[in-house]
Amino acid sequence: MRRLKKIHCFYRFLKSNIFIFLLSGALLYPLTVQAQLTIDIIGGSGAALPVSVVPFGNEATYPLSVSTVIGNDLKRSGRFRLIDETGIVPRPYLPEEVNTSIFRARGADAVVIGNMRPMPNNTIEVRFALIDTVRQETLANMAFTVTSPQLRATAHRIADIVYEKLTGEPGVFSTRIAYITQQGKQYMLLVADADGDNPQTIVTSADPLISPRFSPDGTRIAYVSFESQKPVVYVQSLMNGSRKAIANFRGSNSAPAWSPDGTQLIVTLSREGGSQLFIMPADGSNAAQRLMTSPGAIDTEAAFMPDGQSILFTSDRGGSPQIYRFWIMDRRTERVTFEGSHNVSPRPLPDGKGMVFVRRDNGRFQIAAMDFQTRQTMALTQGPMDESPSVAPNGRYILYSSTSGGRSILSAVSVDGTIRQRIGALTEQVREPAWGPIL
């Protein structure tokens, strides 16, 4: 823990130099041409926890380098720095083979080791262990029996365990993200692993697609499609691709928000005039009911608080767009943002103690974070056109999209503003990221 605190102090020092990191990040921009997302740390990595990931025993005989995937996950999180292990002989594959003093001499506070071997029925046993070289302790020692196509997922699971053991927070390497791409007049909704790998197109349309939102159990995705020349809310199964127009009323249907139990959706409808919030069963089995009355005002962009008792939403009922909170049972509304004339797109943090949102500051749209108790807000990005924040299920990172020169890309920033990632996809416009749940 003490080590981590020190690192935090160093991060603060780094923040003053963040521009330099952004600049060097630009140079890191990948030079390969590929449709897949690529993720680069562009700040904070210099102060990360030093970890050595040793190639797993027999790894080379399998189609995927598990240790490379683990190392990339840890490095890209911005919280770890990889310590080179080359030249350490013999290579340790089991916990008792680790000579902690050699790794400590190289500067590694922890070591990830493992071994792979064939098992019956074409399965593979992947063993792994995490050793704390300072306290000379085995923090994890596990075995997975998997098939070859599951090796990448196994590597992400191991990275999640390493992340959690060393930071005290759950890892999000096994989660998925969704995003929208546009190439000319072709719009696509894709779902990919959190590292951008394994992208799968789940909707293709000649008309815009916006507002993808994973269901809390990760099996469905809600989104808005304009394919019928008006905004309609769909819910699509990620298991079999089937979908249903869940809100297709007269007028506009938009901004779906899942209840934490996955049974309800709040949507913005214009069917009764203006833009108002309605609640309906997520399977479309019942009618949409108006959530509250605010004649003439815009109410939209609902997001459930994690406990499901209240929602955050955007409204201009006070004359400018601001964020409000509505308690569903006692029908009470409270204004949340007061600073500035334009605060929108609220997304609660998983612990319910704060939110991230988009604010306009001198014409620049920035991602900001607010602590509900202190009411303090902090800008996490500079703009000028940052939007669509989506919080990682561990509350640590925020994915968002930024536009400049007519091009939009995804970026990520840690919730304390210290770690920055640029998520590159060189072929097309990429926007509206949504982070899926931990499964």
Binding site: K244, A245, G406, T427
Partner: protein, 180 residues
């Protein structure tokens, strides 16, 4: 230095985009064409079928005749405004009268915004613009049931550039008759 770097990156990304277009061309991904059979009650499919043309014996569709004000289909708005300005009054009035004279005609008013701001809030702003034009048309004789107002927010700009001229072209309400 920074300027140089920026230009370099722009050029580079331009090359890469071009390089990639060719690698993805082969896909030719077909536009998804699933029937939207599961309409949850959208009024857009009800009402008059056909082209909404009634009693025209001159052989010219007034909605498409460039000399007719009814062929003008866009109302533009000032920044952050929903006020239908005087210069569009004649256009709005002509369409309102057309609807009044053709009770089976159906119209969609599509609200649009410029690119500044978030997707979902802009959708609500575009809706408000479309609603403003509808209110005026109803006031001028159209039936409420003849007009559906919807919004594209910032998703379908007429001009994709990022400057004042483009933004002014994009802050608009488009008038579409059923079947157009």
């Amino acid at each position: 230095m920074l300027r140089f770097l920026k230009v370099g990156l722009m050029v580079l990304s331009g090359i890469l985009v071009m390089g990639c277009a060719s690698t993805t061309d082969h896909e030719g991904a077909p536009v998804e064409d699933r029937p939207i059979a599961d309409n949850a009650g959208g009024a857009s499919t009800s009402g008059a079928s056909g082209d909404g043309v009634h009693g025209q014996n001159l052989g010219t569709d007034p909605l498409k005749d460039p000399a007719n004000i009814l062929s003008r289909r866009s109302v533009f708005f000032a920044f952050d405004s929903y006020v239908v300005e005087d210069e569009y009054r004649g256009l709005v009035e002509a369409h309102a009268q057309y609807l009044a004279a053709n009770p089976t005609a159906r119209m969609t008013l599509q609200g649009h915004t410029d690119e500044r701001g978030t997707h979902e809030y802009n959708l609500a702003l575009g809706q408000r613009r479309a609603d403003a034009v509808k209110r005026l048309m109803v006031l001028l004789g159209a039936q409420d049931s003849q007009i559906e107002t919807i919004s594209f927010g910032k998703e379908r700009p007429r001009n994709i550039e990022s400057n004042e001229i483009a933004w002014a072209e994009n802050r608009r309400v488009d008038v579409l008759y059923l079947g157009e």
